[in-house]
Amino acid sequence: MYGIVDCDNCYVSCERVFRPDLNGKPVVVLSNNDGCIVARSNEAKKLGVKAGMPYFKLEQEFPGQKIAVFSSNYELYGELTGRVVSIIRQEAPQYFRYSIDECFVYLDGMEQIDLKQWGEGLYKRIRKSVGVPVSIGLAPNKTLAKMASHFAKKYPGYRHCCLVDSDEKRKKALKLYPIGEIWGIGRRYAAKLEAQGVKTAWDFASWPRDRVVSTFHNVVILRTWAELNGEDRVPNEAMAKKQSICTSRSFNGMVKDLETLKIHVSNYAARCAEKLRRQNTVASIVGVFVNTNCFREDLPQYWKFEEATLPTASNSAVTLVKAASELLSKIYKPGYSYKKAGVIVMGISPDSPIQLNLFDINAERFEKLKSLDAVIDRINRLHGTETVILGAQQYPQRNAEGKAEVFANAIKHDFRSKNPTTRWSDIIKLK
């Protein structure tokens, strides 16, 4: 049996942990740069607020409505969902974190246990300990588990856990499951199926295999079809450990000059290095991309990606920032208004033992960089991210107090909440 544990309206639920006054009220969370709505509470959904709606339209379309608005605060969401995963780790024999708000569990060897009761207990423990509500779907494969979690979320009668463990239950659920909701079937394929009269998952599951093959010629769709019919086909490797890490941002406004771009890219590279160090890995390939705003058809367009292999796999901020800056200088073209840039690191492996390259045998420098990173990490953990940064990461603009802006503030976040679980300065006040 498989299960999926899915945080309900994850970002909104995380914000509500420290704002219990917002329970039962409409709440939305905005994307990076406060661009558009990425998460909505059930109350906001009921009002008709759509996912992806640009923030500036909220006031126009819902005048006079009291809707609480938050900038996204990934530091908070990452910490709280990490707690959810740590509870799952204690309760399930095997688990795999699929995304920030979804975690698969493998329940082999738990045949003697009442799984429905187990799921309800897991919900209760997470809800009470962390304060975030989850929906749990349990079924013989991942696609059906996703479907079950949809029902657990939708109908309170399931008490947050829906178990699909018989053919009868499977068929009943498939008939109520809209084709567009199926995990693994994108919007494009869903539209194609709808055009052929397929409305529910059941309609699709009832197709003969040959028809699925001849209509789509697509192994992923065939796999999904087989899973809807109860087979276990989505391989676990398909969800294996992240093979690349990307840090990218849309700028607040446009950037034209290389110097400013370089500061942004240096920050992304430093962030990638930090992520690598946190999971005790190193990367051997660094890639950088830049692009202009494709929605501004009145402006000249440019998109470029370039990658380089490091002489020695690394997770050092100094090394990655240097490599990324060099790549940026290569792909940068003057005369364009850039909207976005990003750094991707690939070829990720465990950080020890590192294969030192014959032509890069400066072991002493390597050790020095390593202890420098360790010091930076320790200071930033204690005093807040970006207390210490590399010179290349420093923005020239000054804020109101005359201090140079840091990366976290270089993107717009007018409504960001505090970080009561990661910064001593932000812990809750008790009157």
């Binding site: 707690r83 300990s129 009561p420 809750i428 008790l430």
Partner: protein, 145 residues
């Protein structure tokens, strides 16, 4: 006079093996048999890390309970609050630290009691819809400012 026992202690995030016995050459140390993990606040005092949050006491409503302005409260959300516990609750749009008094539950209300005569108890009439945010399991007071 109060006796103070001094105990060896250690405060760190990760517990590491202190010694790899197997690869040691030569005569074994007679202390090996008495190896014991050092005391560790994170391990021994925080029973449920995923349910533990911290708060800073703001004001002196609990001063007679030995909880002072500026103290750090260690809050465990997974513990069920019992009558008489020091709890954190969200009332009137703020978090508050008080004693939980359930003795009037039969009369349809519960009270959050301060430990300072200058403050009044907070009466929660709608006890059914009231939720304790977490139970305070420790407070930390710094004696050296």
């Amino acid at each position: 006079m109060t006796k103070i026992h001094i105990l060896p202690s250690e405060f760190k995030q990760k517990l590491e093996l202190q010694m790899a016995y197997a690869i040691k050459a030569g005569f074994p140390s007679p202390a090996d048999d008495y190896q014991h993990d050092a005391l560790d606040f994170n391990r021994d005092l925080i029973k449920h890390p995923e349910a533990t949050f911290y708060g800073r006491v703001d004001g002196d409503s609990m001063v007679e309970a030995g909880i002072n302005d500026g103290d750090i409260a260690v809050i465990d959300r997974s513990v069920d609050a019992s009558d008489g516990d020091v709890v954190v609750a969200f009332v009137n749009n703020e978090f508050t630290i008080k004693y939980l008094d359930l003795s009037h539950k039969a009369d349809g209300y519960i009270e959050l009691k301060p430990a300072n005569k200058k403050f009044h108890p907070i009466r929660i009439e709608d006890a059914d819809n009231f939720e304790v945010w977490g139970v305070v399991v420790w407070t930390i007071h710094s004696w050296k400012r």
